[in-house]
């Protein structure tokens, strides 16, 4: 794709070098030619990026347009909103089938619980691994990292047996939350952050007679606010979007997060609705909006901290 304009510049290079055979400037240093080349590259780059953006964003546009149609219109014209074919009825329809408020609440409790466990366990462990000197610290850190390598799917069946069959936590928030409480990424984020703070700061507090718990609560956590926000935001999209685990352990619809309830609707009952795609897309829009809004509001936390630390690590 990108070789075409290059071939074009090659052709021009031949022409311009013929014209310049008497001059001393090499064709590659000719400012006009360089400017032309740069302009071509800019246009090609921009077209490429714009095509990419279309491919990534069109399904979102199509989701919202489809969720507002009275009659599903899969033709090309249906990709544009038609004022005579617009309704909010699909949202009412999906709400009467899934109880959107209840399933959204379930998603929120599940997500909030995971964030709470992640912060409580992760801050303590991250602080210990970064600041405190104790024997076996390196080993503990290696064990934390080990859980990043093993895919969750391997643990799926034993966790199901333990949580559902042994402890009877099916259809409960705790059962949904527990497997996500072991969040190695958050420990990693906090450890990296606390390591970047000068040791003298903690030592000074110790000389003033503060206990480690006081240092953590009054000094380390307040400074770590940006790391905490990063951990919250990066953690949020995990449980909010998660399907497999809550799908396995919730059978009652009143306990299902929205992603699970919507998936069950797609697989089992959608065929009976008047406009099944409209209702499904309305549910999909409600599910997508919170994560997308959070992302747009806190972009830099997704785009910088997360990626940067995972590359350097």
């Amino acid at each position: 794709m990108a070789t075409e304009p290059e071939a074009g510049t090659d052709a021009r290079r031949q022409r311009s070098s013929v014209a310049e055979t008497t001059g001393t400037t090499s064709p590659d240093r000719d400012p006009r030619r360089l400017a032309r080349r740069r302009a071509t590259a800019t246009v090609v780059g921009f077209v490429l990026l714009a095509a990419g953006a279309f491919v990534f964003l069109f399904p979102f546009w199509y989701m919202v347009v489809g969720s507002l149609q009275v009659e599903p219109n899969p033709t090309i014209a249906g990709a544009f909103p038609d004022p005579s074919n617009v309704t909010l009825a699909n949202y009412g329809d999906i709400n009467s089938r899934l109880n959107l408020l209840r399933t959204l609440l379930n998603s929120a409790v599940f997500t909030g619980g995971v964030i709470l466990f992640t912060l409580a366990l992760g801050l303590l462990a991250g602080y210990a691994l970064a600041v405190l000197e104790f024997r076996g610290r390196g080993l503990v850190f290696s064990l934390v990292l080990l859980s990043l390598i093993v895919p969750f799917q391997l643990l799926m069946i034993p966790l199901y047996v333990m949580i559902v069959r042994t402890y009877g936590l099916a259809d409960s928030y705790l059962g949904m939350i527990l497997p996500f409480a072991v969040n190695a990424t958050a420990v990693f984020i906090f450890r990296q952050f606390f390591r970047s703070i000068p040791r003298d700061l903690f030592d000074a507090a110790r000389i003033d007679g503060a206990s480690e718990l006081q240092i953590l609560l009054r000094l380390a956590i307040p400074i770590a606010r940006p790391a905490i926000l990063t951990a919250i935001i990066v953690t949020f999209i995990g449980p909010w979007n998660e399907f497999l685990w809550p799908f396995l352990i919730t059978k009652e619809q009143s306990m299902q997060p929205l992603a699970v309830a919507l998936a069950n609707y797609i697989t089992t009952i959608a065929g009976r609705a008047a406009n099944p795609f409209g209702a499904i897309l309305a549910g999909a829009t409600v599910l997508a909006v919170p994560a997308v809004v959070l992302f747009l509001a806190f972009q830099k936390y997704f785009l910088q901290s997360d990626i940067g630390s995972s590359l350097k690590g």
Binding site: A2, E6, T9, D28, R37, A41, V44, F46, L48, L49, A50, A53, F56, P59, Y62, M63, P72, P74, I76, F117, L121, L124, A125, A128, L132, F134, R137, V140, V150, P151, F152, Q153, L154, L155, M156, I157, P158, V161, M162, A181, V182, E212, L216, N241, F243, L244, L248, A259, I266, T267, I280, L281, A284, L287, A288, F295, L296, L303, I307, L311
Partner: protein
């Protein structure tokens, strides 16, 4: 710390009072670290280490679900679960599907995300907008995105309307040939933004002088991309290949929802879908766990090989 005090205490080194206290030598200077790291470690033991061992143990036993409270015999069966997994035609189909998935997903991800990251790394208008646009599918729930793809690729869906007579029959998601490529395409599309940003971060670490030097030598944009950028981001490529392989081996939601449970007729079944069906729906947990162990071993071996091949070339 060792320097100054030593001179004054030297005559008494044998005395016990001047050595590091025993507790300190055993546990370090701040043993409170155990208390701080303890809660996480307990969760790690209960929700990671124990289930990991339990998975291995189960896979070596005839472990099935029984009525609550019933005393049942779950005899040790050695590698029986593994031999029946390997001989199972469904598992073989799932393994083939993982190969198809990875063969589409990994090269497509590496090439497209590298090219888009390279374009994003130039001084072009609307860069911030593009960067965000690519990431949006990555932060959105698979279930929501699959809902849209179901509509796009339905029999009378927009894709077939655009294609007209070229549209495949049977349609994409119920077509034995096309079901897997569509799943791989969906997963690539959904994850791509993450990899674009990973490459973008890596490209910002490629020294500017290399580009300048290439420019002086008369290299054009494409030349500079191939000669400077591609080798410059090799460690990111290793990471991308490994992560994309892991994702490729563990897909579940796509065949469950997009192709209606691994259809048509098992053509898009995945190992994790089989684990769910056999291990949880059918209650044969030992069998399901054996699939899981084999899958994890294969993925880790592939990752190690990838790392070896891709990193080795660097030297």
């Amino acid at each position: 710390m060792a320097g100054i005090p030593e001179a004054t205490t030297r005559p008494q080194t044998a005395g016990p009072g001047h050595r590091t206290p025993l507790t300190q030598r055993m546990f370090g200077t701040q043993p409170i670290g155990y208390v701080f790291a303890g809660p996480y470690f307990i969760f790690w033991l209960a929700l990671f280490a124990f289930p990991l061992g339990f998975a291995l143990w189960m896979s070596l036993h005839d472990w099935f679900f029984a009525a609550p409270g019933a005393q049942v015999d779950r005899p040790f069966v050695g590698l029986d679960n593994y031999t029946s997994v390997i001989g199972d035609p469904d598992v073989r189909r799932a393994a083939l599907n993982v190969v198809i998935f990875i063969a589409i997903n990994v090269p497509l991800t590496v090439v497209v995300s590298m090219v888009l990251a390279y374009a994003l790394n130039q001084a072009l208008p609307l860069r911030t907008f593009f960067r965000a646009a690519y990431y949006v599918p990555y932060v959105t729930a698979s279930v929501a995105m699959i809902a849209v793809w179901l509509w796009l690729f339905a029999r009378d869906g927009l894709v077939n309307q655009v294609l007209g007579p070229v549209a495949p029959d049977p349609s994409w998601l119920v077509n034995r040939v096309w079901a897997m490529p569509i799943i791989a395409l969906f997963a690539t599309w959904k994850q791509l933004g993450f990899y674009v940003l990973l490459y973008l971060a890596a490209m910002q670490n490629v020294p500017e002088e290399l580009y300048e030097a290439a420019k002086v030598d008369g290299a054009g944009v494409v030349r500079r991309f191939l000669a400077v950028t591609v080798p410059g981001v090799r460690s990111a490529t290793t990471l991308v290949v490994i992560l994309a392989t892991i994702v490729g081996a563990n897909f579940f939601t796509e065949p469950y929802l997009l192709t209606g449970g691994g259809g048509p007729n098992g053509a898009s079944v995945s190992p994790v879908l089989l684990m769910y069906r056999e291990g949880i729906e059918q209650g044969d947990a030992g069998y399901g766990a054996a699939i899981g162990v084999l899958l994890a071993v294969v993925v880790m071996t592939l990752s190690a090989i990838n790392q070896f091949i891709l990193e080795d070339r660097e030297r």
